[in-house]
Structures are given as structure tokens and as C-alpha cells.
Amino acid sequence: MIEIRGNWFDGRSSRQTPATLRVAGSGDCSLHVGDRVYRGRIRDWSVSPRLGDTPRRLTLATGEALETTDNHAVDRMLAEVGERSGGHRRHAVLHMLENRWGTVVLMVAATALLAWLFVSYAMPALSQGLADAIPGEFIQGSDAQSLAMLDGLFFEDSRLDQARQDGLRERLLAATPDLYLPVNIEFRRGGNVVGANALALHGGTILFTDELVELAGNDEQLQTIYGHELGHLQHRHALRRVIQNSLINAVLIFVLGDASGIPDLVGGEVFGLADLAWTRELEREADDYALAYMREHDLAPQHFADALKRLECSHRTEPGDDYASEEFLACLDEEPGWEDDDFQWTFYLSTHPATSERIERFTTSPTDPSRARP
């Protein structure tokens, strides 16, 4: 016989009456409220799960409830009358997990591990899967809006003369393989913020800045860069990014819905770093594609290495208006491997693999096809 003392609430008013529930091992029980006694079976009561040391509610189907702070008596009663329904066993396991520091330490570790696996493996794989599943017709030409936005934020109209633009566009489009969507080539002036750069938007647009066209030593160099951007396009990298960013938001809301302060505090940083690491992975993929593209079109990979070197030197020196300053030319003549410790360290925080590493790869791989696709 187990006695559970608590307060009785009839569910129709807020009146609180002290009461005692006596439960026998057979499952018969009697409820004593004041001097009245009700008899019944304990299985007709639903018992709220144990949660820390919060009061338990033993409720009848008709809405009356006994509320008790004597968690110990309730647990003993459940054990004794053999109330071993699935629900109660699940809840007992939950309470056991929540009640032991040993398991809690393990769970903190497991949570950290899972979060890491999720961010560095599951998320990219899932985004890539979704990106690959989207048909080209669905997104082709959808860049108009993104392009308008970029124009508003960063770009000015190209100042290259029309003949140069047309000639370059013709040359590149003629050397474009069949992709999953048609390619559209655009030129813009990058200005101070963007400078010399090329980018691939998700809907098939590949954009060159005037500065990059001017920086390039020759059109072959531009074509190798084009091959790199084609790689981004064919591997649907921009698409993958868009999807991944949406997914991250959705997942944070869904999984951490009731711990909304945590993602703000730590989530942002973690996801940011993972995103950078992942971006380097994408650059390597695009470089692989570029190497294959160069072999296909009989372009020496040295052109790409040269383009990267010029790009790097334009950042490290004052290149002068027509890329002829002494400093710039001296930088071009330096051997790879000039990067100092500072630069190596920032490698972990940069979006592209270390440039020297890339330059080396394109300098040494032309004649040996086995090195082209590691």
C-alpha cells in the first residue's frame, strides 16, 4: 500500500482540497478527499511524466486531478503496481537520462559531435543532392533579378569597347561545352569593392569585370578562368549555396526552436567557418573542371597559373593603371613559395585555397594527365 498526498482539483473550480490517494499492489486504489472516499482502479488514472522535481498530476478522464509534490511516492507506486505501459517506460528512460551527470556529459559530447558531422558532411551533401535534382529549365535565365541587385550594389556598366566585349564573348561561347543550362556572358566594371574578378551565378550567367579583362595577360588566360567558372556552373555551386543557406535557417528554427538564443551566440560563428571551409572545397572542384576543360581545348594550364599569379600580384602590389609598374612586374618574376607565415595563417580563413598551392598545381600538371584529376 502506497500513500500519495497532494491537492485535489475538481477541474470545475480553482478550489484546492488536500487529498490522499492510497494504492494497493493489486491496482485497487482509494481517494480520500476530506471525509469522503472514492474507490477505483489505478489504471483509470493517467500519470504525468516525471520532469525534474516538478509536481506530478494524476488525472481522471473526467478532468479531475490530484497534484502532488511527492515524486518519490508516485515512482514507487508505478513500479509496484506494474504500470509498465510503453509511455511510462519511455518517460522513465527520459528521466534516467536527465538525472545522471555521467550520461549528461556524454550527451554534451555527442551533441557537439553530431552538430559538427551535420555541418561539415550532412548539410553539404543534402544541398548538393537538392541542387542536382533541380532541372536546368527551371532556373535558366533566373539571374536577371540577382544581376539587377548586384548592379545596384557593386557594379557599374562595362567600359570595355563593344568590339572587345563581342569578340571575347564570341570566342568563349564558341568554346563552351554542353552544360545543363545555356551560358550567358556579361561584362561589368567592378570598381573598388569587387575589382578584378569573375563569378558564376546560378542561372547560367558568367560575369567578368573589366578589371579582370584588363589584368589578364592574354585571352588564353581569360579562357582558362572561364573554364573555372564553367566548373562552378556545371557543379551547381551557386545553387548549392542558396539551398544550403535556406536549409541552415530552416534547421536552426526546427531543431533549436525552443533554444532560440543559442544559434545567435555560437551557431553563427560555427556555420560561418564551416561555410568557408566548404567554399575552398568548391574552388578545388572548379579547378578540377578547369583542368579537364583546358585539356579538351588544348590550352596550357600554365595560362591559368599565370592568371592567378597576376591576380595575386595585383593585390600585393600597386600594379599601376596598365599593370606595368616595376613593383608589379617584380612580383610576377618571384618564384612560387614567397608567401610568408601570415599569409599561410589567413589561408584557413580565406575562401580560396592558398594561391601558391593552386599555381603550383597548374604549373606542374600539364603533361601528366594522371595529376590533372586527383
Binding site: 477541474g11 551527470w101 526552436g257
Partner: protein, 366 residues
């Protein structure tokens, strides 16, 4: 436990929070891990357990609160919200940004509905002494206080923002009921202006103070840097003060800005807490609230520092500390017996509103 049948209700019944940080930490960790392992499915159960932990540890007049919502209802709401969000984000990014614009329009138009559903869901699933709360607010009232007033505040450059706050509190609180009894809300506009503009003033003063601290620290840093053999110093080419000093500079910078924000928040939160509860009545029963800005600041600043230092592990402890402080600052002042509230037959509200509100971080703090 006191027996209310024989003991008369004293004039002031303090709220009490009996939860423990270490206990809630373990519950929160299990919640988080199971949510991740089940790909978010468990998060609905986690939410019910979390709310029940805080409700079940909040005690007034000898009785605690309980949260009676079904996790399944919350799960459905959560799936719907995430589905809608992902759908619109993907469409907006890949097909046309117009989808995002449409989403925002739909969201604004649907805001009154969301407010009503969220408040109702929370209220009907909250019980004290086995009698449920309820929410009777209308969509029209929600549109006035959550759409119209923000526009008015915007048009007046936030000068009338305190009246917006007052309108929203009034709408939410006087819409609530406990059993068949109704809450009422009767507050003068003055204190709302004090709460808002006081916090703006504190923010400005604290921010200037933070800048001064920052300037002083920078000077000290430069002095140390020059003193420690930065021979190129200020004149030479190398102006890199080294990672250590940079980190200290950043910590001091971010820290002082965070603390100025927290000081302003402390004033605002404590004023609003007091105004809100002092102006509220349940039937003929009143409330007493005496939160202070320094008291709130003490709790919140320790929370912030420890959360940062423990990379978030302190978060559950912080929630418990805050809940305990809020309970300490609140008392119920009954006029007559608390046994006479009569329950009302209520229809259950769907979880969609509640979850949508949580997902969009609508602050319906009550």
C-alpha cells in the same frame, strides 16, 4: 502546504520559482540531443517539457502552473512553418524575388491572425489549479495594436512608440481570462514614455561611456605596443599590433557595447515588467511587481558573460536565473478567496499560430 479552506488568504502572495539550473541543464541537454538525433521531430516534445519545467516550478498560493499542449499539435505547426519558410526562400532565390515580397505581404496581412492564434494556444494550454486560461482577443484588436500602432509609431519617428507598447499590452492582457474571470488592464501612458525614453537616454549615455573606455584602452594598448619594442611604431610601415592586443581590443570593444545595450535593456525591461503587472487585475485580484533596473542588470550581465565564456553551456542556467528573479519580483494581491474561479468550456486552438509566432520570434511575453 497551507489549506486555503481554513487559512484566510493573506494580503500578498509572492510568486516563487523552485527550478534549479543544474537540473534544467540536464533536461535541456537531453532535449537538444534527442532533437538532433530525431532530425527535429523530438523538438516538439522538448518544447512541452521545457515549458512544463518552468510552469511546474512556478508557484503562487501553493499551486504551480501546468502546460497541457499536445506535442503532436506543436510538431504539425512546426512542420508547416518550416515548409512555408523553405518553400518561399527557395522560390524567392531561384525563381523570382517576387515570391519573397509576396511572402512578406502575406505575413503582414496574416499578423493579426497569428497574434490571436498564438496567444490563444498558449492560454488555453496553460492551467493553474486544474483550471485553464483563455484568450478572447479579436482579430480587429490585434490589427489595431500590432499593425496600426507600429505604423503610427513609425510615422512619428518612434515618439509614439510608448503608446504602441501600451496598446499591445492592453490588447493582450485584457484579452486573457482565467476560467470565466477576465483580466483587465488599466495603465496611464506616462510610465510607458518613461520606460522607453529612459532606456534611450541610458543607451546614449552608456554608449558614450563605452566609447570613452574604448578610447582609453586603445591608448593603453598603443603605449604597451610602443613600449614593448614596436620599433617601427607609429611612424614606420608596420602598424600591426599583433594578435594578442587585437583580441583584447575586440573583447573590450564588443563587451562595452554589449554592456551599454544591456544597461538600456535593464531599465526598459524592469519598467515594463512593473508597469504591466501593476496595471493588470484578474477579476478583483491585483498584482504587485517590484523589479529594479540594477537587479535585472545584475542577473542579465552575469548571464551574458557566463554564456559567452562557456560557449553557450550556461544558457539553461541563465534561463533559470532569470525565471527565478522574475518570480521574486512578483506577487499576487488577492481580494477574497482564490478558490472561486470557475472553469470554462474551451475549444482547443491549433498549434500553428503558436509555432509560427515562435519561429518568427513574435514577442508575446506575458
Amino acid at each position: 502546504m497551507p489549506n486555503p479552506d481554513t487559512t484566510p488568504e493573506p494580503g500578498r502572495l509572492p510568486f516563487e520559482f523552485t527550478g534549479e539550473g543544474s537540473e534544467y541543464f540536464r533536461i535541456a541537454v537531453v532535449n537538444l540531443l534527442l532533437s538532433i538525433v530525431t532530425l527535429g521531430i523530438y523538438s516538439a516534445w522538448a518544447r512541452v517539457r521545457t515549458l512544463n519545467y518552468f510552469y511546474g516550478n512556478t508557484r503562487v498560493a501553493g499551486s504551480t502552473f501546468s502546460f497541457l499542449a499536445s506535442p503532436i499539435a506543436i510538431l504539425k505547426g512546426r512542420l508547416l512553418v518550416v515548409g512555408v519558410l523553405v518553400g518561399f526562400t527557395v522560390l524567392g532565390n531561384l525563381v523570382s524575388p517576387w515570391f519573397l515580397a509576396a511572402f512578406v505581404v502575406v505575413l503582414i496581412a496574416g499578423l493579426p491572425w497569428l497574434v490571436v492564434r498564438a496567444a490563444r494556444f498558449r492560454a488555453v494550454n496553460t492551467a493553474w489549479r486544474n483550471v485553464r486560461f483563455n484568450f478572447h482577443g479579436t482579430m480587429g484588436g490585434a490589427a489595431r495594436s500590432f499593425l496600426l500602432w507600429p505604423i503610427v509609431a513609425l510615422l512619428t519617428a518612434w515618439i509614439l512608440h510608448p503608446l504602441e507598447l501600451r496598446a499591445q499590452r492592453k490588447y493582450l492582457i485584457s484579452g486573457h481570462g482565467y476560467g470565466t474571470s477576465r483580466f483587465t488592464f488599466d495603465a496611464e501612458p506616462g510610465p510607458f514614455f518613461g520606460a522607453f525614453f529612459g532606456s534611450v537616454g541610458i543607451a546614449i549615455v552608456a554608449f558614450v561611456a563605452a566609447l570613452l573606455v574604448l578610447a582609453a584602452v586603445s591608448l593603453v594598448m598603443v603605449a604597451i605596443f610602443i613600449g614593448s619594442g614596436g620599433e617601427d611604431g607609429l611612424l614606420g610601415g608596420s602598424s600591426d599590433p599583433g594578435p594578442f592586443t587585437t583580441v583584447i581590443g575586440q573583447v573590450v570593444g564588443i563587451g562595452s557595447v554589449a554592456f551599454s545595450a544591456l544597461a538600456a535593456q535593464s531599465w526598459f525591461q524592469s519598467r515594463m515588467f512593473n508597469i504591466t503587472y501593476r496595471a493588470s487585475r484578474l477579476g478583483k485580484h491585483g498584482f504587485e511587481a517590484n523589479m529594479t533596473a540594477p537587479g535585472f542588470f545584475r542577473i542579465a550581465s552575469v548571464n551574458l558573460v557566463l554564456i559567452v565564456l562557456t560557449l553557450g553551456l550556461f544558457f539553461p542556467f541563465a534561463q533559470v536565473r532569470l525565471a527565478r528573479y522574475k518570480a521574486e519580483c512578483l506577487a499576487l494581491c488577492p481580494l477574497g478567496s482564490l478558490d472561486d474561479f470557475v472553469a470554462e468550456e474551451t475549444a482547443r486552438a491549433g498549434a500553428f499560430g503558436d509555432e509560427a509566432a515562435a519561429a518568427l520570434d513574435l514577442n508575446l511575453g506575458f
